[in-house]
């Protein structure tokens, strides 16, 4: 596609996207809001996965953001945007401390630790009711600033998208890819993984905390099981996987698909919780087995096959999952 067309299209899409919160339709706003949050979470998970760090505990950062923002709003009566800044900082801090502690761990062990982090934080917030309200939870002490919440969500999602697109052009991105493929080999090539890990996890955590903070304000009530909800973890993985892991467009497409799917199953199936989670599980399994590069991968294969005389061998994703042809801006 000619670059100019793509650029114009992106410009129009961005403007439309940022204008959506100002249309006063509560159902549309609610849907867009949840999509924006999931875009941020999916991009952040994707960022970590791109560096070889699989996170099974994204709900940890989400929950930290929830509590940080609630504290700021309730205890200090700060405007929402300051509260979200708290969330960003708190999330990044937790991410950085966690990375320092797990510096030597890779792959499966790192993943298990992230799970431990999210569950550990949940139990801790239950056991410290004087600080967090415990199981009784915390209510927001002010009316929900709806317009602000929607605008900040759209802006946040937009910035995340732009940022992740920008990152792919930098050395940072290639260092992460190297780490993903083989951290040891990358080290031998002169890439010190530690600062990259810190940066990746810190940024990732901050994004997710921001999203968590927004969701806490929107719901006006949190408790440990809401804040550290495992469903955040599940959705944070499925969205990038179904959209296309390691790509820029993947998390965005995945976020749309997942939120719309969750809504439709709720409407269609008399809303049994089990059914929507079941569908997510099936999607996850099928995606890993047959479509590991997600929707973006399918698109790439379809467009590359149409190019006559293309010499690109069709790489079977199961055999060559590490080699991706979709590592560029859409």
């Amino acid at each position: 596609m000619p670059k100019v067309v793509v650029r114009v299209f992106l410009l129009i899409a961005s403007v439309a996207f940022l204008a959506l919160p100002f249309i006063n339709s509560p159902v549309l706003n609610d849907l867009t809001f949840r999509i924006c949050l999931l875009i941020m979470v999916a991009i952040s998970w994707n960022l970590m996965a791109n560096a070889g760090l699989i996170s099974l505990g994204h709900s940890a950062f989400w929950g930290v953001g929830c509590y940080a923002t609630m504290f700021a709003a309730n205890l200090f009566a700060l405007p929402l945007i300051i509260g979200l800044l708290f969330a960003l900082v708190a999330g990044a801090l937790i991410g950085l401390i966690f990375t320092l502690l797990t510096a030597r761990l890779r792959g499966f062990f790192f993943a298990i630790c992230t799970l431990g982090l999210s569950e550990g934080l949940r139990v801790t917030s239950l056991m410290l009711p004087d600080l967090t309200g415990g199981a009784v939870g915390m209510f927001l002490n002010q009316p929900i600033p709806r317009l602000e919440v929607f605008v900040l969500a759209a802006v946040g999602a937009f910035l995340c998208i732009v940022f992740s697109a920008f990152l792919t052009q930098t050395r940072f991105h290639f260092a992460c890819r190297g780490m993903r493929n083989h951290e040891g080999a990358a080290q031998m090539l002169g890439v010190d993984p530690r600062p990259y890990r810190l940066a990746v996890v810190g940024l990732s955590a901050a994004m997710t905390s921001y999203a968590g903070g927004l969701s806490a304000i929107y719901g006006a009530y949190i408790d440990p099981s809401i804040a550290f909800d495992l469903r955040v973890t599940v959705q944070s993985q499925i969205a990038p996987i179904i959209g296309g892991m390691y790509t820029v467009a993947g998390p965005i497409i995945g976020a749309f698909v997942i939120v719309v799917l969750a809504d439709q199953t709720r409407v269609l199936f008399g809303s049994s919780e089990g059914i929507s989670q079941l569908i997510f599980g099936i999607i996850l399994v099928l995606a890993i087995l047959f479509m590991p590069k997600g929707v973006v991968g399918l698109w790439e294969r379809w467009t590359s096959r149409r190019v006559a005389g293309s010499n690109t061998p069709i790489q079977h994703p199961l055999v060559h999952p590490k080699v991706t042809t979709a590592e560029r801006t859409p």
Binding site: V136, Y221, S271
Partner: protein, 400 residues
């Protein structure tokens, strides 16, 4: 021609108002139909469905449409569902959610439209603080403090309570955390000595250590504040341990069939509390609405014939609330403010006694059904202990 025009206009106008009149009255029913609290959600759903069957299809000349929604015992799903109902479906009337944490999560979206809101549940006082004073909010289950006031009065009626020792075991969730301070307060005021207070994690598989610690204090009474899984685990593991604590009180689940079935023989001797126990009291039929609010015995017969099992209080209170709502709409039409005012001043006899709403004195404006009964499980049946007018037996010591 002018006459023809006028007739046509009148015809069109009447068509329009007819179309308007055909729009159904929507009643949102958001319940825990799946997830942790599904037992409560299903009993309420049964009550609502029964009410809609008994009442019929129409009220105030329009069709009734119940919009059933599952909040999945999950806060995020509740927010999304309720937002949809209030903004898209524009409901004026809402029943549920029931469980304390989910009802708490519903408060945010409820505020966007403030439909008339019946909550036959949510015993936690945090809800009272947040929405109690709202005129659209109708709380139709006792709050936690009602529970412990009644329990302590029942114990004083049935036992010599001088120097009796109480151990409190509470679950670390919304229910346990809000009930425990009130239990502590009321028991202390009633002259009991609280010798142990232990918190347990929700869904804890192993209560042995806590039970051992409690046993060492040699309590006379054990108060187990928990629901669903935890109350079953407690009953079973306590029974196995042979701790010989004479009196066991379980305010959360003892009245539920699910608990009784799961606990098996361990249920013997447990003391529970509810504000309706079938087959005990027979309130008379409502004089003005005998078909929809029959006598208690009559209602129980109708329910059992229709559903083939004994009703419990959630079936009945949800039935009654729907009838109260429909009676009010029938009287004053589909105007939210007027209906709320009508319900607030109603004084109807129901199969559960007087359905009149009154302030609690602790924050809630519209509270009904707060007088509870205390019963004990004897041989798989309920024996009523309190109040004196309905008592059918004396308190017994638990077998182990």
């Amino acid at each position: 021609m002018t006459i023809a025009l006028r007739v046509a206009a009148a015809f069109v106008l009447s068509l329009c108002s007819l179309a308007q009149a055909q729009e159904p009255i929507k009643i949102g029913v958001v319940l825990e139909l799946s997830g942790r609290f599904s037992a409560f959600g299903h009993t309420c759903e049964t009550g609502v469905k029964f009410a809609s069957e008994v009442w019929g299809d129409t009220v105030a000349g329009r069709k009734i449409e119940f919009l059933y929604n599952d909040d999945q015992s999950d806060a995020a799903a509740t927010v999304a569902t309720l937002t949809h109902l209030i903004s898209q479906d524009k409901i004026n009337y809402l029943m549920g959610p029931l469980s304390s944490p989910i009802a708490a999560a519903a408060i945010g979206p409820w505020r966007q439209g403030k439909p008339i809101w019946f909550v036959p549940g949510g015993s936690t006082t945090t809800i009272e603080k947040e929405v109690g004073p709202e005129p659209m909010f109708f709380h139709t289950l006792p709050y936690a403090y009602h529970y412990y006031k009644t329990i302590t009065e029942a114990l004083k009626y049935q036992l010599d309570t001088t120097k009796k020792k109480v151990a409190i075991l509470y679950v670390d969730d919304n229910y346990g955390r809000t009930h425990q301070p009130l239990a502590h307060q009321y028991f202390t005021q009633a002259g009991f000595e609280i010798v142990a207070e232990e918190v347990v994690r929700a869904n804890s598989p192993d209560l042995n250590p806590v039970l051992t610690k409690i046993a060492q204090t040699k309590p006379d009474i054990l108060l187990g504040i928990g629901q669903t899984t935890d109350s079953v685990t407690l009953a079973k593991q306590l029974y196995t341990r042979n701790l010989n604590i004479p009196y066991l009180i379980g305010p959360g689940s003892t009245q539920l069939r699910e608990w009784q079935d799961s606990a098996g023989e361990a249920q013997e001797g447990w003391i529970g509390i509810a504000y309706y126990v079938p087959g005990v009291v027979n309130w008379p039929a409502n004089k003005d609405y005998p078909r929809v609010l029959p006598s208690t015995a009559e209602w129980e017969k109708m329910f059992e014939a229709r559903f083939k099992y004994e009703p419990n209080y959630h079936n009945l209170v949800c039935y009654i609330n729907i009838m109260q709502l429909l009676i009010a709409i029938e009287k004053v039409g589909d105007d939210k403010e007027k209906v709320a005012a009508e319900i607030a001043k109603m004084d109807l006899m129901t199969p559960m006694g007087s359905g009149k709403f009154a302030p609690t004195g602790q924050g809630t404006l519209n509270q009904s059904f707060k007088d509870m009964m205390v019963f004990q499980r004897h041989n798989g049946k309920n024996v009523l202990l309190f109040p004196a007018e309905v008592a059918t037996g004396k308190i017994a010591v638990a077998p182990r």
